[in-house]
Symmetry: C2
Subunit: 390 residues, 2 copies
């Protein structure tokens, strides 16, 4: 048996970078920036007023000073001339500060009468001017890799970058296996259940940036598995669910090998989700996940999301654990790393009493997976633990 970290390292070796594509800015949100991009201009491109008011010379600013209005500078329409001694230009927020002026008196501090203005309130020392290039300068970069958040999208727009180099979406093909499975909406026989893993995993992977296809369920026959695996062609990552254990009905590894897979089979020292199969198949990476609903979802978080992040060139790729306090004590852990479904309350983290890997209701109610290292001793309420937010 190998550790979770060792298993993840082996999966990283299978995570081939997906390459770069260019998408329009309006479609870049949430994508991973794949190459540094540079501003094509300064922002602001000129010294700009931060207030509505009057642009004047700072040396002339004092209470009761009078100025003659000689023009206007509005956003998009600057004042073409120069502000001379004793002159003022009406100016609006965001408008270029005209040449000759180096101070904006806010309109609340001024009384205007016809063509004359008088400073009638203490204008203070603040010049109310944003210097040219104060936000960014041409050539300033946004560094890759970076998951583009709304503020990044606004910044890219301001930098006049209308198309953005991002990592291509990894194409994932999901195959669930087993004679017991029926698609949602189907009519299960008395010994059958509804396929749920593929739907949960698709939601998980797509939210991370993948494009996931759910393939037909593979039955427990060689020909059915071959059909499904052949339908997966073109994917960057093929994931099978179930049939990767040691029972008599576990055909996936055998069939995949028949199709040319160079297979590794890992027993991972973890709960839930012990068996894991991985290899290369026809140019794609392939991973076999356990079939228990919770095991497959936990393995999705612990192994597949990190692989997808690697494929998209995103760092850090490992799950980002947080520290938190236990609200309730925990008994000692066994020899396997245990990911315990838990909820986060005002008093801290509480693990659910039942951690059976078949219980999807408990996973749906959980906010977090508490990480228990192998042989972790009993823990008290108030102890600090690592957890993965869900």
């Amino acid at each position: 048996m190998i550790s979770v970290e060792e298993a993840r390292a082996k999966l990283y070796d299978l995570a081939t970078p997906v390459g770069v594509e260019t998408v329009p800015l309006a479609q870049a949100a949430g994508r991973i920036l794949a190459q540094d991009v540079s501003a094509t201009r300064d922002q602001p491109p000129f010294a700009a007023s931060s207030m509505d008011g009057y642009a004047v010379k700072r040396a002339e600013v004092e209470l009761h000073a009078m100025f003659k209005l000689v023009g206007e500078s509005a956003a998009g329409h600057g004042f073409a001339g120069r502000v001379g001694p004793g002159q003022a230009v009406r100016i609006f927020t965001g408008a270029p500060v005209p040449e000759g002026a180096d101070f904006v008196v806010i309109q609340e501090d001024v009384t205007a009468r016809g063509n004359l203005i008088t400073i009638t309130d203490d204008p203070g020392d603040k010049d109310n001017i944003r210097p040219a290039g104060g936000d960014f300068r041409a050539g300033d970069t946004i560094g890759a890799p970076r998951r583009l958040r709304p503020a990044d999208i606004a910044l890219l727009a301001a930098m006049n970058i209308p198309a953005v180099p991002v990592s291509r979406r990894p194409q994932v093909a999901l195959i669930s296996t087993g004679d017991e499975l029926v698609m949602p909406g189907g009519e299960p026989g008395p010994d059958q259940i509804i396929a749920s893993n593929t739907f949960g995993l698709k939601a998980l992977f797509d939210a991370e940036g993948a494009q996931t296809r759910i393939l037909p369920i593979a039955r427990d026959r060689v020909s059915s598995l071959e059909t499904a695996l052949n339908l997966a062609r073109g994917a960057d990552l093929v994931i099978t669910i179930g049939g990767a254990s040691v029972g008599d009905h576990d055909l996936v590894a055998q069939v995949a090998e028949g199709l040319g897979m160079d297979r590794a089979f890992y027993k991972v020292r973890m709960r839930p989700g012990k068996p894991l199969m991985a290899g290369h198949l026809a140019g794609a990476s392939m991973v076999g996940l356990p079939g228990n609903p919770v095991s497959s979802m936990v393995c999705g978080h612990i192994f597949i999301l990190p692989m997808l992040r690697r494929m998209m060139g995103f760092v850090p790729a490992d799950p980002q654990l947080k520290e938190g306090q236990l609200a309730e004590p925990l008994s000692a852990n066994g020899p396997r790393e245990h990911y315990m479904r838990a909820c986060i309350g005002s008093g801290g983290l509480t693990a659910f009493p039942s951690q059976d890997s078949s219980l999807l209701t408990v996973l749906a109610d959980a906010d977090a997976l508490i990480l228990r290292p192998p042989n972790d001793p009993p823990r008290d309420a108030g102890d600090t633990v690592f957890y993965l937010p869900l």
Copy 2:
């Protein structure tokens, strides 16, 4: 001036529920469940083995006990008969436990020879059986409203719910205003800048569940604003950016009133983002946001995302603040609620030195907005503050 909370309450009054639509399960991830849904079956639908092994009668289980193999129960193919005294049925994980059996001896504890098996290792007390309905029962519900996460999608699948009632996506129309604006990819004149707010806000709103259209930039002319506002028809929420202040060039309120808007104009006691316009226009809600890039994004977080959540029937709709420690001291706050861009490090929260509302770079670097209440006194490193994660 009114408080942020008062302004949000007024905006909630404008947030009309968008109603319900039914989407296929594979497209329901991230959507808001709009009506309670109920499982149509028990899970598991039968008592199921949790291990690969042999189904027998518990009363007969002891070290060295021998059993005669009478059949097999595989996932999807149960054993049709009944397990009698001295009999065992080969069983696989997830398969139905046959009638007459109430214990599964795991295969590692058994030696099989031909048709006979012998228990050759202590089988323990655990029956390795998952009871019927142990995860959920027919009629068990998932309660609305709830944002559907991957585990929920898996659970809905297991419940055999192939189509899901979710809140319709609010249709948002975004109009930026101003002669100074040029779309990304355009060639700005010397007094112009690139429109960035609409792109940042679209990313923000779409991630929350909206479908956002960016409309043509409205110029500082009545006819141009009328054109843009008419193009917004059909939207649930119309948002204008800029032109809602008190300067001479602020036409939006005037034009919107001309088109029949019942307008309210709020000065909100907050930084950044003081002026806010809101009302009804031709069956839609309309909000005017300030034009400064950071102000518009902060108002998006503080006002518009809560409105969208309300429109989708999601509770709680208010921004979910967290508590954190300051890594660096903060000077006293003025009379307005201040949302300070900050980054989160291992030592806690550090506000950026410059909080000017024109600096998009500072917003893009920020992980959090620290909330300073009006007239908040100076704060020391280590003090607890509220913040909104970004």
